[in-house]
Amino acid sequence: MLEIKEVSRYFDNFTALDKVSLNIAAGEFFTLLGPSGCGKTTLLRLIAGFDQPDNGDILLDGKSIIATPPERRPLHTIFQNYALFPHMTVTENIAFPLRMVGCTQAEINRRVAEALEDVSLPDKGNHYPDALSGGQKQRIAIARALVNRPRLLLLDEPLSALDAKLREQMQLELIKLQKEIGITFVYVTHDQGEALALSHRVAVMNRGTIAQVDEPSRLYGFPNSRFVADFIGQCNLLSGKVTQLQDNRAQVELEGLGPVQTAIPADSTIAVGRNCTLTLRPEKIHISSRVSHDEVEAHFKGIVHDMLYLGDVTVYKVELANGMLLEALLANSSPGRARFFEIGDQVEVAWHYDAGHLVMD
């Protein structure tokens, strides 16, 4: 439905977007995720029409919208600080887009009432925005953007100004709303947790390029690069070199640790002799005081260097022989038993051959 074709944007000598291509389907909750300054807002402004790409094209339903000014694009934006009009009541704010297309007063009244109902604030119509809380402003901004049913809703870090609790609640509401009305959402955030929780698909951006586009679970389980693995969730990154390929397993010589067996990822450009990174999620690493050789195939000795008690889980940082710190996660599932190890304990870390995910450097 929305097609972004090799779009580039340069500011002076700085490349904010470099040949970005994306395909967003109708009804999708699509998220642009990336660190600060990677070009998320720039891309969103290009889609909204506030800025023009230097190269490439943006198509909506197969038709280029590059030449269409923002006020005539069938899409709306939710701005980071809501941008509600302070001199208008909530009702007038929501009526604004309807007035712009010349709806009759009766129709405006009906649809504004509906929109207020949709965001569960039916009795706030006569308030001015500065009399609303952050969450209420957010809902009004959403109501205003959705009232004339755009094809596409762009949201630029809409929840970043809210506190954690309210943010979580608004996330649930956004998911529900998007499902109900079925409008395509393009959502921008630098919060990977938010991206994973909300989206059907996520595009991870890095320095003006798209690093990976995938479903949240695949993004987490099968990152295609060191950057994505590192950016999404906690991850141990072990550098190494491919030394052998056999059946569906590769042997990798990890720097300072020695050879390990690992599964070959499906869509990999793997070849013997290539530099690679083994990405290992902390929850996939076993940690024990006994030396065991069953079922797990990679195991290394280490010393507990640090630990972080988080309530539900405890994070252990284990120092390996080569001085590297490996993060492992243990669930505190049995009551009264928060600690399995103490700092300084000799332990063994181990992981199953297909626990790690191999990416080429």
């Binding site: 923002p70 006020e71 941008a83 302070p86 712009m100 297309v101």
Partner: protein
């Protein structure tokens, strides 16, 4: 918060004292003077006398009656209000685009542009008016240019000097910065995201201005209007020098009463009416301004 502490009351003392000494007391003196007789050689006659041991007050309503005896003065009042309104309107028309342009220019240029707006204040007020006298004079460049154009069209030459046009032009010129500065201060604070949002929601340039920028700037417009309207209403130097008999304003008559005719009581009557008009305008402006700030 209901009861104000004595510290809070203390804080309001300096402004109250200032208003009392520099506004309330002089106004009361003027009000009192408007009920007195003219002295033998002008100025004010004593307001009481003691004859045969009895005290008599020498106060009169004559001066106020004189105000309504002819319509000269009321006409002059309305004319002055008219001049002030036209000047204010022209200042808005000229000052608004300028203030908007400065507020939307790059940050690093704004200070310089503002400096240019107040630059005229660096030269003497009278010198600047004399400059306009030269521009408007029959041999001045402007008059010559206009008249040679009119000549081409077969029209009779005109004189700009000593006309309402000359007075209002100069009034606008002198007071424009007083409009631009409060307008700029207001416009500069506008959140640009609001315009983006309005555009995003389907408003073209024209509607973005009238539905967002203009209503949000109303308090600035009123502030500027008051700063222009009030001093223009009391202006006498410009009509004195550029107005001739046609372009005279009420303040000229007041000055004339005090200086040339030395009729202080009647001068006081006229001053009181002027002051009352100004106060009314301010109150009205403040009220509308408050609503505009909503």
């Amino acid at each position: 918060m209901q009861q104000k502490s004595w510290q809070q009351r203390l804080l309001t003392l300096p402004p109250m004292g200032y208003l009392l000494i520099f506004f309330a007391i002089p106004t009361l003196i003027m009000l009192f003077a408007s009920f007195r007789y003219t002295g033998e050689y002008g100025g004010l006659a004593p307001w009481y006398s003691i004859e045969n041991g009895t005290l008599a007050f020498d106060l009169t309503l004559e001066n106020w009656q004189r105000l309504f005896e002819t319509d000269i003065y009321l006409r002059l009042f309305f004319k002055s209000i008219g001049y002030a309104l036209v000047t204010t309107l022209l200042c808005i028309l000229l000052g608004y685009p300028l203030a908007l342009m400065i507020a939307r220019s790059q940050k690093k240029h704004r200070d310089l542009l503002l400096l240019l707006v107040i630059l005229p204040f660096w030269s003497n007020f009278l010198v600047r008016i004399y400059a306009w006298m030269i521009i408007f004079s029959p041999n001045g460049a402007l008059t010559q240019m206009i008249n040679s154009l009119r000549d081409l069209l077969g029209l009779a030459p005109i004189s700009i000097m000593y006309s309402a046009t000359a007075v209002i032009t100069c009034l606008v010129y002198v007071h424009l910065p007083f409009m631009v500065l409060p307008l700029y201060a207001n416009l500069e604070k506008h959140n640009p995201a609001l315009l983006d949002a309005a555009q995003d929601l389907g408003a073209n340039r024209w509607r973005r201005f009238w539905r967002i920028t203009w209503p949000l700037s109303l308090s600035g417009v009123y502030a500027g209007s008051i700063l222009v309207f009030i001093p223009v209403l009391g202006m006498f130097a410009i009509p004195d020098l550029l107005g001739g008999t046609d372009g005279i304003m009420i303040a000229n008559v007041i000055k004339q009463q005090f200086v040339e005719s030395r009729d202080w009581p009647f001068g006081s009557v006229l001053s009181m009416v002027l002051t009352a008009t100004a106060v009314l305008v301010v109150l009205l402006g403040a009220k509308i301004g408050q609503q505009g700030a909503r």
